[in-house]
Subunit: 453 residues, 2 copies
Amino acid sequence: MNHPYLEDTIAAIATPNGVGAISVIRISGSNAASVANKIFKGKVGLSAMKANSVHHGKIVNEQGEFIDDVLLTLFKHPNSYTGEDVVEISYHGSPLIGQKIMELLLKQEVRAAEPGEFTKRAFLNNKLDLAQAEAVIDIISSRTDASLRGARDQLDGLLSKNVTELRKSLLDTLSFLELELDFAEEELEFVAKEELLEKINNIINSIEGLLASYNFGKVIRDGVNVAIVGAPNAGKSSLLNYLLKESRAIVSSIPGTTRDIIREEMTYDGILFKLFDTAGLRASEDLIEREGIRRSNETIKNADLVIFLSDVEHGFDSAIFADLLNLVNRNKIIKVMNKIDLKKLHVNDDEIKISALTGEGISNLLKSMKFSATKNANYSEKSAIVSNVRHYNCLRRAKESLNKAANSINQKFSLEFISLDLRSTIDSLGEIIGTVTTDDVLNNIFSKFCIGK
Amino acid sequence: MNHPYLEDTIAAIATPNGVGAISVIRISGSNAASVANKIFKGKVGLSAMKANSVHHGKIVNEQGEFIDDVLLTLFKHPNSYTGEDVVEISYHGSPLIGQKIMELLLKQEVRAAEPGEFTKRAFLNNKLDLAQAEAVIDIISSRTDASLRGARDQLDGLLSKNVTELRKSLLDTLSFLELELDFAEEELEFVAKEELLEKINNIINSIEGLLASYNFGKVIRDGVNVAIVGAPNAGKSSLLNYLLKESRAIVSSIPGTTRDIIREEMTYDGILFKLFDTAGLRASEDLIEREGIRRSNETIKNADLVIFLSDVEHGFDSAIFADLLNLVNRNKIIKVMNKIDLKKLHVNDDEIKISALTGEGISNLLKSMKFSATKNANYSEKSAIVSNVRHYNCLRRAKESLNKAANSINQKFSLEFISLDLRSTIDSLGEIIGTVTTDDVLNNIFSKFCIGK
């Protein structure tokens, strides 16, 4: 890869928008020190500063007019976040001052950084591999302890280490295979085919382990979408309110992305649940109501979990339940019977008994929600978790080509076929950590970052 | 003053709230280094770090669990913002991580900082005087170049220098007067009374100069409240829209604090104008309408400037104008005649002719608005500007007691009286820069700061 833009020096405000005590502008690239030097007046110039030292001084414009007093930190390549020369300017947290300093920088040989461009440079300069770079955005947007820990592990290289080891093992094997191909006429066998098959099967097992962690990884990274479904009288809103009150940390209340659908967020035992209160399910003649139902159905189809709510007064609503089964798999549905404070009706064993009024049974429901959300999770504390759909897809492709390789061995196909499949597996694994990548992939990844990161 | 709390070590998130690339936690006090050392794992411990050096490392909790990798900067007293030992921790800009690091700190000998407490400590440790400390909050909340420059000058000590000089001159005089009092029996005259009177009058002149700058200072610091008044058909909304379109930088659109009153902001030539579109002025039988009129009248009374809008179709509305004069001084009113694109009616010379449709005359109106807003301003580029009502009141009291001193000299009163008045002036001036202050005054000033500053 050739990256001409790496020669540019870039700058951006790196702290969140708004008014605060401190804000920080970050500059990275070969001109970082020289452009900062033109606007900074301190006891010493930047050329006399040691790496990793902080200096108090003033930012002044071309007319020598004083803009702000700041702390300036100089990092010298390769010992910086990006691996390039980096200058950080910490100023009084006013958006107006930030804008003025940025203007002074952008008049020089500096351009405004694109979203994620600092981290992209860290990747291109081999400070982070691609999976680690992707973990940076996950860390910033983490909203539960579990998601933070998962992203943390990924930035630490837990997944990268796993993938690198699998890849290295395949590379070693491939080099022997290719040696064998080179000496094909001499009919030497450098790799015993049974050994090769065993090795491939072991790697398939490891990849399947990683793939199996995705279900849990996705849950901890993105949270669980829960649709609450039931007749209007079943007490959906009361349940929603009780759940929000009960959960230790209400993360936030998000205005519905679509009208008629209320979305709230809560965490339970480290898992983020996104709760959607849906309208009715039944077909209607009324146009507006029909639109509401269409939206409800969409929400239910996209849900990871559905709470189907009935109440002891009206009993289990089998008509609505039948409709529900057309939209969503049975194993995603938790049947809940509400209003058990009212009377002691018979409740089926597969229904969780609650009262959204007194709170009875709610803790059982929460446990059940967590169990359902994580039941397909194959996960141990020490192993890497795949939480990113891009990684998941790379692993699936790696597994497919390994299966093909195993098949070729069993069918005693020519070595060329096996070699090709192994090469393809190695490339798929390499895509995860970025040994093989394209500008499109990179742009897609880093465009999701915020500016300044 | 005795400040036992100065022994505490304090910590706070110093960057604006929200998600970003970088956020910063600031710790100040004698324990700053030791508490940070307990949660920071880097190549060296904090005790081995040089002042003003930056170190990469990890924040870990009591279980050794990795929270984030960070940059840590150590400042040693007295060379820091607060004059105490200060540690700044720059972490991935996630609110969750910020909360976790704060929790780890607050479990130790650290408490959460109060609003403005870092700057308050800078004042108590003599890093800034009080007027300079007050400038910090003005800098952060500056929204125009002019207000930023004013606050900048104040932080630089332009006002403090002026006040300190006046105060020192009075202190010198006072010491001679008191010497004379000590030797009263010997009837020695250490200070010639004519000289003293001249000196006092010179200082009164200087103080009057500062007082005169307040009008302009207030305008650049807080902006100008402009009420737009006129009959419903006069085109108030069109004018408002045109002004907003015309102004170089629309600062923002603020939701009305009271219903029925639209408030928009614009800057012209460095001055922030807050535009209020008011409803009618006339009394009404309708209860709801009456409430709207009450609010309009309140807005007009509080305005620094009133644009009174008539239009060429209906002519100058002398009835509304008469009502207006009951609410506001004539010299705050700018008469404007709108819709001059429609017909060429006679327009009085004291009316600014505009068309909110074509934009004709709008630039004249803007110039007139700036002229009216600043016409009472006595201000030269190099002199200090008083923009803070606290400073203004201190200066007024200083001037009053100086006038009393001058009067005592003229009336040949005893030296004790003159001495008392001079002492009182010195105290009033000292209050501005904080040589004399009370906890109440300090609390009042710093409670307006944000946390972390």
